[in-house]
């Protein structure tokens, strides 16, 4: 088992290496010049060239890559060109809204998806099952930014229940910041509930056909108890898996929602860094986002191995 996990760990490192390399070279392939942007209109071409030198952008790309990789292996993501701080600090500053947005969204998605999935499985084939499946499809067909705009118009502008955008004024309390996340988290929760609904339904169907569930029923246990205790209890692992993966993808994938709601999260950091050609920030942020995904994936594998020793790689 440990050998298998070690192999899995090695595979993970290779994937991260590929991500790092891919991101670095793609970043450099993009047209645009951060030095010229930094200096503004009055700077001469010589000034721009000089600043490029300060950032090491005048060196051959392959040399830049080697230097960057060396620092990366030491855990150093480099220094932002525009933010006057280490990349890791810039990311850490953005982590809070992104983290809580992902967390709240997952709560919403789970609160919708798991009960809907169970209901759909229990009443398989009936109208309610069809309705839930259709509803899940519908949720997965809604562009999150559009739902965000509509929610803003309705709940924030018309009804005034929620703030239109932002993460609270400077110095806002934690409660106030969370309040600013309610609307975006609902949007992401709804859109992401589809996958959780479908997974819950499928795993519940598998489990409900198992002998021990029939046995439990035969023993005269109440239907609710059978479904929740024996059914859901045993279907939990795949459900947790899909919840975990959804959470992982939300770290970078909430980018559009962060933009619509003006949340200063990691997605927004990447977008502004791309626009400014802040190479170290683009590279660092994408590596961190990919790293989180890969790690959560790995943890899920470990969890499977622990829960179900039959799982092999």
């Amino acid at each position: 088992m440990f050998a298998a996990l070690a192999r899995r760990l090695a595979g993970m490192l290779i994937v991260m290496f590929i991500v790092a390399t891919m991101v670095f070279f793609l970043t450099r392939l993009a047209p645009g010049d951060p030095a010229a942007l930094m200096l503004g209109e009055q700077a001469s071409l010589a000034d721009v060239a000089e600043l490029r030198k300060t950032y090491g952008l005048d060196q051959p790309v392959i040399v830049q890559y080697a230097l960057w990789l060396k620092e990366l292996l030491r855990g150093n993501l480099g220094q932002s060109i525009f933010l006057q701080r280490p990349v890791i600090v810039a990311i850490a500053e953005r982590a809070e809204p992104t983290f809580f947005l992902a967390l709240l969204s997952i709560l919403v998605a789970t609160a919708i998806g798991v009960p809907a999935g169970i209901a759909s499985a229990v009443w398989r084939g009936r109208a309610s099952d069809q309705a839930v499946s259709g509803g899940a499809m519908l949720a997965a067909s809604i562009p999150s930014f559009w739902l965000g705009l509509i929610f803003i118009q309705f709940f924030a502008v018309r009804l005034g229940w929620f703030p239109v955008a932002g993460y609270g004024p400077p110095g806002a309390s934690f409660a106030e910041r969370l309040y600013h996340l309610m609307l975006p988290a609902s949007v992401l929760g709804i859109v992401n509930s589809a996958l959780i609904t479908r997974f819950t339904r499928a795993s519940m169907l598998d489990v409900l056909n198992e002998d021990y569930v029939r046995t439990a029923r035969a023993k005269g246990l109440s239907e609710a108890r059978v479904i929740l205790r024996h059914g859901l209890g045993n279907a939990l692992v795949p459900i947790i898996t899909v919840v975990g993966l959804t959470a992982a993808l939300l770290v970078g994938g909430a980018i559009v929602t962060e933009t619509v709601f003006g949340l200063p999260g990691i997605g927004n950091l990447v977008v502004s860094a791309v626009l400014r050609r802040d190479y170290p920030v683009i590279q660092g942020a994408l590596i961190v986002i990919a790293g989180i995904y890969v790690l959560i994936n790995f943890s899920i594998d470990v969890m499977y191995t622990l829960v179900d020793p039959r799982v092999k790689y």
Binding site: G32, D33, S272, L275
Partner: protein, 524 residues
Amino acid sequence: MTKSRHPQFLQLGLSRREVGGLALGAATIAAFIGSKGASAQAANSLNLAMIGEPQTLDPMASTADLPSLIMMHVYESLYTFDQKLNARPMLAVEMPKVSADGLTYDIDIRKGVKLHSGRDLDVEDVIASLKRWIEMTPRGKSVGAALVSIDAKGTHGLTIKLKSPVPALVTHMALPSGYAAIMAKESIATPLVNYIGTGPYRFKERKPDQFVILTRFDGYSARSEAPDGYAGKREAKVAELRFIPVPNANTRVEGAIAGQYHFADQLPVEAFRRVTDSGSAKPILMMPYGFPYLVTNTKQGLFADKKIRQAFQLALNEGEMLGAAFGDEKFYRATPAHFPQSSPFHSMAGEKVYNKADAAGAKKLLAEAKYDGTPVRILNSKQYEFHHAMALVMAENLKAAGFKTQLDVVDWATLVQRRADPALYEVYITHSSFYPEPMLSPPQLGAGAPGWWDSPAKNAAISAFNAESDPVKRGALWAKVQEVVYDEVPYIRVGEFAALCAGSMRLTGYVPMPMPAFWNVSLG
């Protein structure tokens, strides 16, 4: 004040006129609209919606507007401008004593001015700051080229010696972009970490894409003269300034109307009506704010031929370009003059070729130059909606005159890179803020700027202008330079445009200046 408020625009902030759908423009990055907390706390603080995130907070590290706009509340300079854009002393006691040959400047610094660190400002701080400015900034470098020495004279005086006259020296030191900020000498470092100046506000906190906060500096030493533009007495009437990046222009408009922002910078001119009608915010118009200009590639390709550049100039309908870009005439003016009538540099040189839309004349020039149908590559960016609007009209004008055209629309980060390569374009579109003094903008008047303009006529006209310090003669010599610009077409100044901002009805004491300043401003 340079165009740069935009170039960076980095944030896509784009500047005025971006249309909402634009790019990330859509990003309402740190809009606080709707948040009740913001206005509740506002009594003693100002929420100021800026067009984007500053490139840096080191005012010498960029010529972009945003760093200077924010940091001029923190750092003061030796000189500054009054409302008519005349230079006035700030940290200097009075205007410098200049020797008859224009080569020696004696400057006295005010005594007892407190730095944010609590210490008194002395000449060592000033010299260290000026040296940094001369090393780091384009304007400083141009002064540096003529510099012999800067020496202390006692604890509060200094002497600047020059090889050749620099008539614009005081203006250079007064301009708040890439500016000669005076810093505590022990804080000087690159990159700058501690922002210690003498201004009415001190730096408190920066959270990128969320805010930069400045707080009142209680030990501020104000001048005694009445306020006039940036000059005279400065007083921090509001305890806290919060500069909030709001790249989406529409969000700035809505936020100002909703009362979340006490000031919103650089709004699309279409918002004028909406702000006026709102009853909750008032429009603030600054005209002229700046000028769009088209830089030609004089080094390589089609436009290396002066005749073809002249044909290009003759073909353009500048009035129509400005109309497409800015709509109502309240917001723009088509004029060949580079300086307004009130300026000693006013000249109508060029009126025979400016705004002519003379397709026939252009065709004739093209025939003489044996134009072979090579397309004119127009490099422009949609990130400034008004750049792109001008490009579209321009292409139509050129086609009418028999040019072939090619619109290369790229994002701003790409444009600033491509314009450095003479193989890639014939003309690119940008803009600048208006400066009271020639030679400050556009950079094509100097050396080493994109477009690579360099000719005997340019060098003769410009060195004659630069060598003269008599204000009367300088006016005539500038007219000469302007004539050469219209003859050789290294760039075309399309006209002038206004900046529209919005301020809360409760805002008092705000004086429209090219770059907004918030000392002496209070909330009624």
